[in-house]
């Protein structure tokens, strides 16, 4: 079970030097992944990162074999990561080539590259196993990542890499935002779209390779995909989305590594991904901009307003009300009695509703371009939506010519 002291220690960077370095690295990595991932999502290329990450495996295997061949330790992390980066580039180039040069769509190209590169990587892993080169344990941890057996200089390498990626993302963020948000405008301001796309893919590769050892190649794409999709629920603005997504990634990295350090058998990679997934579900349900509950609340509030307004107008016209929901709303607000006769407040509110309807009708006649917004606005008390001056102007017209109210 979770050990509270250990968890707090890990959260406050007091659980040992290695754990602290790994946690810092994971936070930077999460931030970089979330930020880069936002641009990837906006360019609709999220799953290219999946092909990229799976394509790292043969490179890791070949790098291991080459280093072992030259008598070194095959586990040397920077060497393995360089191998991973090279084969990821080859994988990316293959996806690009298949989609550009043949009739295949990007989904088929991604899937084909992903599975065949990964298959080749598995073949190389079994070669390494059969050769019986000792200490190949480090290789397996590239599949699912692991932080428990990490050496100190490995942790430092990763933290430095994560810092470098985070820095690059920070420098390039304006250019990337511009390309994602408005390609035409970006082109006219002198930004090379293809080069920016290439830069973006290089950043994706950097995040992937850095994340390999911690999160593992199967799940590292989650760092690039889940935070931006979660951030999408909080905002419609690119700039805000980049910030929220980076934040979600960083928090996932932070809490994930802390949990992993304080609970036995809690592998860091999958736990980081699960924390991100929890943040995603929370965003999906509760985010104010596009969350499910807020959407439900808004549509209920709107339908309540419609029932209130239509009910009050019916009272004024002396019509019987049959709609159950309308009766419920009117009763709840004390506009009608239990026997459905209007109360004093109900009659006053009805007078007022009719007056506002009339004022809105005049307003719309004079401002036809406001029709779309007014469809929702006209259900609110008019004083909240228009200035006193505007209302006074409408009142003047209302009481002016004896033209009958355009009652609806």
């Amino acid at each position: 079970m979770i050990d509270a002291t250990a968890f707090v220690n890990a959260l406050t960077f007091n659980a040992g030097y290695n754990t602290a370095i790994v946690a810092i690295g994971a936070v930077l990595l999460g931030w970089a992944g979330g930020t880069v991932g936002t641009f990837l999502l906006l360019r609709q290329r999220s799953l290219v990162s999946d092909a990229l990450s799976h394509a790292t495996l043969p490179g890791v295997g070949i790098a291991f074999l080459v280093m072992a061949w030259f008598g070194g330790s095959g586990r040397f992390l920077p060497g393995l990561l360089i191998g991973a980066a090279i084969s990821a580039m080859l994988g990316l180039a293959s996806v690009e080539w298949l989609t550009r040069r043949t009739r295949l769509q990007s989904d088929a190209a991604i899937g084909a590259v992903l599975s065949s590169f990964f298959g080749l990587g598995v073949v190389l892993l079994t070669v390494i196993q059969s050769l019986g080169i000792g200490r190949q344990a480090g290789i397996g941890s590239f599949l699912l990542g692991s932080t428990s057996g990490m050496l100190r200089n490995e942790a430092i390498t990763l933290a430095v890499l994560a810092l470098g990626v985070a820095f690059l993302v920070f420098v390039l963020r304006r250019q990337l935002t511009l390309v994602c948000f408005d390609e035409t405008f970006a082109r006219t301001s002198g930004i090379d779209i293809r080069r920016t796309d290439l830069l973006l893919m290089l950043l994706v590769m950097a995040v992937t390779v850095t994340g390999l050892r911690v999160v593992g190649l199967i799940l590292v794409v989650a760092l690039l995909i889940i935070p931006p999709v979660a951030a999408r629920f909080w905002t419609d603005k690119t700039n805000t989305m980049v910030v929220v997504s980076g934040f979600v990634g960083a928090v996932s990295g932070f809490i994930g590594t802390a949990l992993s350090a304080s609970v036995p058998n809690f592998p860091a990679g999958p736990v980081i991904v699960l924390v991100a997934a929890c943040l995603f579900v929370f965003s999906l349900l509760f985010a104010p901009a596009r969350g499910v509950f807020y959407g439900l609340y808004r549509s209920r509030a709107f339908s309540r307003k419609v029932h209130r307004r239509q009910g009050l107008l019916a009272i004024l016209r002396g019509e019987a009300i049959y709609d159950r929901d309308t009766i419920k709303v009117l009763k709840g607000e004390g506009y009608i009695n239990a026997d459905a006769t209007p109360t004093k407040t109900g009659l006053d509110a009805a007078e007022n509703a009719a007056r506002e309807e009339a004022l809105w009708t005049i307003y719309l006649r004079d401002n036809p371009d406001a029709a779309y917004r007014a469809a929702r606005m006209r259900l609110d008390p008019i004083a909240e939506r228009l200035t006193t001056g505007e209302i006074a102007e409408l009142e003047k017209q209302f009481s002016g010519p004896a033209a009958a109210l355009p009652v609806q």
Partner: protein, 305 residues
Amino acid sequence: MDGLYIGLVLVPTLIGVLAAVSCALLGNFLVLRKQSLMGDAVSHVVLPGIVVAFIFTGSMSVGPMLLGAAAAALLSALLIELVRNLGKVEPGAAMGVVFTALFALGVVLLEQSDTRDVHFDVEHALYGNLESLVWLAGMDASSMFEPEALADLPPQLGRLALALVAVIAFLVFFWRQLVVSTFDPVFAHAAGVPVRFVGAALISLVAVVAVTAFEAVGAIITIAMLICPAAAARLMTNRLLPQILWSVFFALVSAVVGFWAAGSGMELIGSGFSVSAAGMIAAVSGAILGLCAVAAPQRKGALGH
């Protein structure tokens, strides 16, 4: 024919071929519908399904395992639709969210549950163990007619044969609906074809085949065979039926050549060990696609740019 050859080579090769062909047949429609990555997603979420089934039943028996995996596959398809509609994100991203989250859940559950006494780990799930699906009772050619010996055949063989029959039956009975809803969904809808139902049935069948194949040969072969042979076949021809036949041929070649290269092929080049057959089969299918992308007659499509 040498008995050892039948038991140690022919039977596992046959299992690989059955898995490859079932996947390739369905893969044609996934590729044409731009849904190739559904196979990828489904293969990933099989893991949590199996782990949950194990936690509930406490055993690694096949029935609950297949049931759990199929349930997880269907659940993931539903979740992807849900995320897509609620979040209004592109299908690829929705898929990425769902399958990574579920796969992570599967790994954590696996680490937390006590599976030490049963042989199961993530590596096994990924690349299966085709080489171990041997038929030791098949000691000579005559045992092919002995009931006791036949009863000792790896059960995966029968299950995969059944899956292949189901796939072929589906293609034969729903051919018209499948084809028309793949190429022109709007027309199909207008003509009264239940487009959504056909799509759901296709994905369900992919899940069933992925689960059956996964248990025998691991996730890599499943993903590779759902995509590579069909993609390569797409570059060979403009017509659907020839494309399907090409894909079956490519799947067959990948399975046979891959299995051979992983075992006997390695001995041939003087190496004293064999490598992962599943990985080799996937790599061979990728190589076939690479060749087709360079030289196949219809690689550029009708536009010929």
